[in-house]
């Protein structure tokens, strides 16, 4: 199996002062294989969000490297990095993922517009994604007319529709009740199995992490335990 993303001794420190410096991520080396369904778990402040942002090229590491399919994204910036994220990485955030003035469909379509996908293909893929996440018929609703769970499904659809190499989700279920949270995770798992899309998500929740096939435990910015299940 080949690694989609690998990091080598990646560090992200906040603050210049030795005394008060926070080592949010400290010398982390991991490899994520294609098709994985991996959870990053750990207490609050352990560095989960920071690591996900480093993996997705949202943040630049203090040192170390992050390679996506052999390309080091640690020192990309500006439009190059934007384009790289657009084409290779899907993001799902904890909340407020969607553009409120766009309908569900338009939210999904937008990223393909950035990619320059033509109109008929966009339409086809939007319809397909809506069906896959179980939102047929709700495409023209604005986010404020959708429930939290439905909004997260739109976010999943948006993340997948650009056909990225990996989807990074930072506590995607944190704002949902446990029933909806589990349903959302089951949907992600199903999509992972159908499409062989790679998923990495972070969570606090025991029930949610039990769905993952690999658990990366973090503590104080370091990897404490990396277990396959």
């Amino acid at each position: 199996m080949t690694a989609v993303i690998s990091t080598f001794e990646v560090c992200r420190y906040f603050g210049d002062d030795q005394e008060t410096m926070v080592k949010a991520v400290d010398r982390v080396s991991i490899e994520i294989e294609r098709g994985e369904f991996t959870a990053i778990v750990g207490p609050s402040g352990s560095g989960k969000t920071t690591l996900l942002h480093l993996l997705g090229g949202l943040d630049n590491p203090t040192s170390g490297s992050v390679e996506l399919s052999g390309t080091n994204i640690a020192d990309m910036s500006g439009a190059t990095l934007s384009d790289f994220r657009r084409d290779h990485i899907g993001f799902i955030f904890q909340s407020y993922n969607l553009i409120p003035v766009f309908s569900a469909e338009e939210n999904i379509e937008y990223i393909m517009l950035l990619q320059g996908v033509d109109a008929s293909e966009r339409k086809r893929r939007v319809a397909d994604m809506l069906q896959q996440v179980g939102l047929e018929g709700l495409g023209n609703r604005r986010p404020n007319k959708l429930s939290g769970g439905q909004q997260q499904r739109v976010a999943i659809a948006r993340a997948m529709v650009s056909r990225p190499q990996i989807i990074l989700a930072d506590e995607p279920t944190a704002n949902l009740d446990s029933k909806n949270g589990i349903a959302l995770l089951d949907l992600m798992k199903e999509l992972n199995q159908q499409s062989k899309m790679t998923f990495v998500f972070s969570t606090h929740d025991e029930k949610i992490m039990s769905r993952a096939s690999r658990l990366i435990h973090m503590h104080d910015g370091e990897i404490e335990l990396d277990e396959l299940r």
């Binding site: 384009d83 904890q94 003035v101 517009l113």
Partner: protein
């Protein structure tokens, strides 16, 4: 397309705030249009007033007669010149004049007078002299039974000398050859009233004035009326090339005091409008920055999923220009009919106003591309300028920071 849709919806997202911004933009625009219309309108009516009253669009003199009038600075071949001017398509008409100071006498009184000899028929089609006659008839250049020429006199002279129609008027002056000039004329018309600028003028037939002043058939001034109001400078330049030995001046030079004070006033006006627009835009800047700040998270998401920073900045410019355009459309809808009325009907001033030496009591506006276009461009320009700092700010939002802020 989606970008425009996004801009459109974002504007309608904060309805009240966008409405307030639009009101101040539209209001600023309307204010500018009215002010431009008023200033253009009043200057243009002042200009057409003196152009038709006596100045014409272009004047021709000998040498520096315009600055230092001397009786001997004469144009010596007016006939030849008249033929040239009559053949020019851009010229409606022209008239020939001579000037001299004189003392006017009646049986009982005397008064200083300004004698102007005019080519009567040409003058009628070039200036409003014929229209200004308040009593009597426009004269001709024939001698009466007793061998006297007719004269038209300002109402001030008539009053000072206590004379009226058909009375005798005696003029004394100095001829071009240094001789004493004096002659008798019969008053056939009174020009204007006792307050008009012509109140101390005596108008004579050109030939009578030339004889009176021993000027043979030379003249002091040729005043020209053009087809096109805007062509004074260009036609003056080409006439000057044809007439190198004479001085050709457009009205901007002839009425240079007026013209310069008008230019200064207009510049002040533009500056003042710029200032008002600037004030309006401080409010707009505030609104735009606020809307960027409020949407930090949204821009964070847009950037995270791969929108280029430039595209984010463009989005802000798009929104601001769109809002400005909508406000301008509303502003046009209000200002076009109002300005149309204002330029067609106008209003009476409670107190007559002095514009560069010309007293006006009725104001009309100007309806032109400049009046609507100049403030429009000014506002669009400012809208784009103002959106740049806000756009840069939005483009610089770091997704990681944005995701942490709630």
């Amino acid at each position: 397309m989606l970008l425009l849709k996004l801009a459109f919806r974002n504007i309608f997202r904060q309805r009240r705030r966008s409405l307030l911004t639009a009101l101040s933009l539209g209001g600023g625009y309307i204010l500018c249009v009215f002010s431009f219309s008023l200033s253009e309108g009043s200057y243009n009516s002042a200009i057409s007033f003196f152009i038709l009253d006596h100045t014409g669009h272009i004047q021709i003199h000998q040498d520096d007669y315009l600055l230092r009038p001397k009786i001997h600075k004469t144009i010596d071949d007016p006939q030849g010149l008249s033929e040239l001017l009559d053949a020019n398509d851009e010229i409606i008409s022209h008239t020939l004049r001579v000037f001299a100071p004189a003392i006017a006498y009646s049986d009982t009184d005397n008064a200083p007078a300004r004698v102007i000899g005019v080519a009567l028929e040409r003058e009628r089609s070039t200036s409003t002299l014929a229209v200004k006659i308040s009593a009597g008839v426009y004269i001709d250049d024939t001698l009466d039974a007793e061998g006297y020429y007719s004269a038209m006199i300002g109402a001030g002279i008539a009053n000072n000398l206590n004379i009226g129609l058909d009375d005798e008027l005696i003029l004394i002056s100095q001829g071009a050859d240094g001789s004493i000039a004096n002659d008798i004329y019969i008053v056939r018309a009174i020009v204007g009233d006792r307050t008009s600028p012509d109140r101390a003028t005596v108008f004579l037939p050109l030939i009578a004035a030339q004889e009176f002043l021993s000027m043979v058939d030379s003249v002091h001034e040729i005043s020209i009326l053009l087809q096109d109001d805007g062509a004074a400078r260009s036609v003056a330049t080409s006439l000057q090339e044809q007439l190198p030995e004479l001085s050709v001046a457009p009205w901007q030079v002839v009425e240079s005091t007026f013209y310069q004070s008008m230019q200064a006033d207009k510049q002040g006006n533009v500056f003042f409008m710029g200032f008002i627009i600037f004030i309006v835009f401080i409010g707009v800047l505030n609104t735009v920055l606020m809307s960027v700040l409020e949407r930090t998270r949204e821009f964070g998401v847009l950037k995270a999923i791969g929108s280029r920073p430039f595209k984010i900045a463009l989005m802000i410019t798009c929104e601001t220009s769109l809002l400005a355009s909508l406000s301008l459309i509303a502003g046009l809808l209000v200002s076009v009919p109002f300005t149309a009325w204002f330029s067609a009907v106008g209003f009476e001033l409670a107190e007559p106003m002095n514009i560069g030496g010309i007293v006006m009591s009725h104001m009309t506006g100007e309806m032109s591309l400049y009046v609507f276009g100049a403030p429009l461009l000014l506002i669009i320009f400012f809208a784009i300028i103002i959106s740049i700092p806000a756009g840069i700010r939005a483009a610089r939002i770091s997704p990681t920071e944005a995701m942490r802020s709630h």
